[in-house]
């Protein structure tokens, strides 16, 4: 791997008007699509595959990758401003981003999330470049046993995102896990809790569940409270470019957190099957866990915005690695991208390192440049968009509810999900109204199915021995340490009389 090749690939990307245009176009479309709930990067690629069919291999790949890489950057907009996640990956940003918007700090939150996304994306791409020579043996060490324990580790973070209401948090987490078991059992093929309801056989749709638990309750709450999302006047609110810059600077203030969550995001991205939602929630949990005084989380702590957003974009670099070099997609989005690469004539596999390293570097640079470009574009559109948080709820609510319904319909193209939305939304509202923490629900539903599938596979492969594999033991140690730390901190909070609720 020579520096010369790296730089020539960058030049090839930036000096070719066609490649540059494809990257700008991909970034622009990715930002628009990312802001629409329910579509997200995965569906965006599926929609636009016909667009690249027959096009130049490099240009087509750059277009699709740029688009996929920045959908998360735009997804944060609706999460922060309206509590409506663009897709499951952006749900973690709501927990602190939306309260910041309510306090009139939407500009600051968006500035921080933009910078965090940009840095995360660049670190993800850099990690991808650096890991190329060493990654194969590491990835091959991870088996279903390790996936199971990794999912369990994520689930233990429920203790940290539950604030002071640990029992309630665990209950909501278990509720989410229980819903994750709806659908065909991976072991026996039995349709659990779904009988003749075919739409549930593939499991409960994550986007519908997240919209029901977060978005609809927030809109009803906004209508009940009256006024606008921002509970402060325009004069008091921080909507200026200065506020955005302050948010961006806050990202640098928490640089160590940014680096840590970026690397966690890369790592999770590399592991096939865990996905982006797991990355952002695990990193949110990590931010709460590693903070000395977490009482502000859930009430608009900027670190709660930075951590998931960094992970959300850095995981893209990570997930590209197994996709390109092993032909094993790191996520469902990457699986579709893999298909698109094949259509374009790119054959993923180890030969990418030996024969097509220049293309690999162009794609890495496309990741870097499109992330930076997305941040710049978003900086210009953020200020007028933030003004929407001052629009009266009476005017805003119907449009957001329509977006929610659209997202639900689009998620899997099934009308039955609307019924699911109607059933789960009152549950989400009850959780909000009675101060029960909602983030554990998403952790439960995301990681529950991963844990179950991995457990069955690990059991079939090793029986009880999967507990004593070297990496399993390391992960078990981390799980125990996390639980001990959570108990210690709960005890310490109680002693100091600290109470906090993460809603």
């Amino acid at each position: 791997m020579s520096i010369e090749l790296m730089l020539s690939s960058l030049l090839q990307l930036l000096t070719s008007p066609y490649n540059l245009w494809m990257m700008v176009l991909g970034t622009g479309i990715g930002l628009v699509i990312g802001a629409l709930p329910g579509i997200g990067g995965r569906l965006a690629i599926a929609l636009l595959i016909p667009f690249v069919f027959g096009k130049d291999m490099v240009g087509g790949a750059v277009f699709l990758l740029s688009m996929h890489a920045v959908t998360g950057t735009a997804g944060q907009l609706t999460s922060i401003m309206f509590g409506v996640p663009g897709e499951g990956d952006a749900a973690a940003t709501i927990v602190d981003g939306y309260p910041m918007a309510q306090k009139g700090e939407a500009g600051m939150a968006l500035g921080a999330s933009l910078m965090a996304s940009g840095i995360g994306g660049v670190i993800g791409a850099a990690a991808l470049g650096l890991l190329i020579p060493v990654i194969e043996p590491i990835v091959l060490k991870f088996s279903p046993a390790e996936f199971f324990f990794l999912a369990l580790l994520g689930i233990t973070f429920v203790a940290f995102v539950s604030g002071s209401a640990i029992f309630k948090g665990i209950l909501v987490g278990l509720f989410g896990m229980m819903l994750a078991f709806i659908g065909q059992d991976p072991q026996t093929g039995i349709a659990r809790y779904s009988d003749d309801l075919l739409f549930l056989w593939e499991g409960m749709d994550l986007i519908t569940a997240v919209l029901a638990i977060f978005a609809v309750p927030e809109m009803i709450h906004l209508g009940v409270k009256g006024g606008a999302i921002a509970a402060v006047s325009k004069e008091e609110a921080q909507t200026s470019v200065k506020a955005q810059l302050a948010g961006m600077m806050a990202t640098f203030k928490h640089m160590w957190l940014v680096v840590r969550t970026s690397l966690i995001g890369v790592f999770i991205g590399i592991l096939p099957g865990l996905g982006g939602s797991a990355a952002s929630w695990i990193c949110y949990g990590h931010a709460v866990q590693s903070c000395r005084k977490p009482s502000n989380f859930g009430r608009g702590d900027i670190r709660g915005v930075i951590a998931p957003e960094t992970a959300n974009n850095s995981k893209e670099g990570g997930s590209l690695l197994p996709t390109l070099f092993f032909g094993v997609p790191g996520s469902s989005g990457m699986a579709i991208l893999l298909g698109a690469f094949l259509i374009l004539g790119i054959q993923p596999g180890p030969q990418m390192i030996t024969e097509k390293l220049d293309l690999v570097w162009i794609l890495i640079w496309a990741l870097v440049v499109s992330n930076i470009l997305a941040v710049i574009i978003m900086l210009f559109v953020t200020k007028p968009l933030v003004r929407l948080t001052f629009v009266r709820g009476g005017i805003l609510i119907p449009f957001i509810l329509i977006i929610v319904v659209f997202g639900t319909l689009m998620a899997k193209g099934q009308w039955e999900n609307l019924i699911l939305l109607l059933i789960l939304s009152p549950v989400g509202y009850a959780l909000l109204r009675f101060d029960w923490p909602r983030p554990p629900f998403v952790i439960g539903i995301v990681l529950g199915s991963i844990a179950e599938e991995s457990l069955h596979k690990a059991w079939a492969l090793w029986r009880w021995e999967f507990f004593v594999r070297p990496l399993s033991l390391v992960l078990i140690g981390m799980i125990l340490a996390t639980i001990v730390f959570a108990v210690y901190r709960g005890w310490k909070d109680k002693k100091e009389g600290t109470v906090h609720v993460i809603g």
């Binding site: 278990l174 229980m178 072991q187 109204r433």
Partner: protein
Amino acid sequence: MSSDNSPRSTTHLQALLHGRALLSLGMLIFFSVMVAIASTYPWQAAMLPVVIGVPGILLSLLQLFIDMRDYHRAEGKIDPRTAFEIYMDEITEHTKGQVKMELAGDKKELTTLVEDPSVVGRTRGQREVLLWCYFFGLVLLVLLFGFWIGVPFFLVAFLRFYARESWRLTAILALAAWGSMYLLLAVLLEQVLFEGFVSGFIMENLFRD
């Protein structure tokens, strides 16, 4: 909100039917039903639902006990509403035309002045019920008549009758929103959305061969 401050005795039934306890009771019923159903599956399919469901039942019971104990300790004077909701109830009752909101933030007092016609003259409970009705109405409209027909009807109804906007603004907003969504989603992205049962039936029987 009761203004009576004298102690009073509380029954277990009152404690159980109290707002906060009801959610714990709901969780208890949910986990019990899920575990009961899981017990009818082969052990491989039932294992994790039972492993997760049983602690769920135990924790729900514990939470229910805590909620009921808190209710008894407070002698029934726990208001199921959050402090913010109590405040909103009071200002809705006492304000006409203008709503002044004061939010106690973590670090500072936030004050703003809002003129919101959708709030005026409606209690918090009424707003809550109305909003849920509108939301259920939207879903019903989409299910019956499809997304592209249901959405404009919902927009007009909500903006005119809930938000109490003028007919002129209602028409402009509804038309602009519907038009831009249609252009982006149906024309540019070529998304085919659910056409609705009634619309589908009509199209199937009247306009198709």
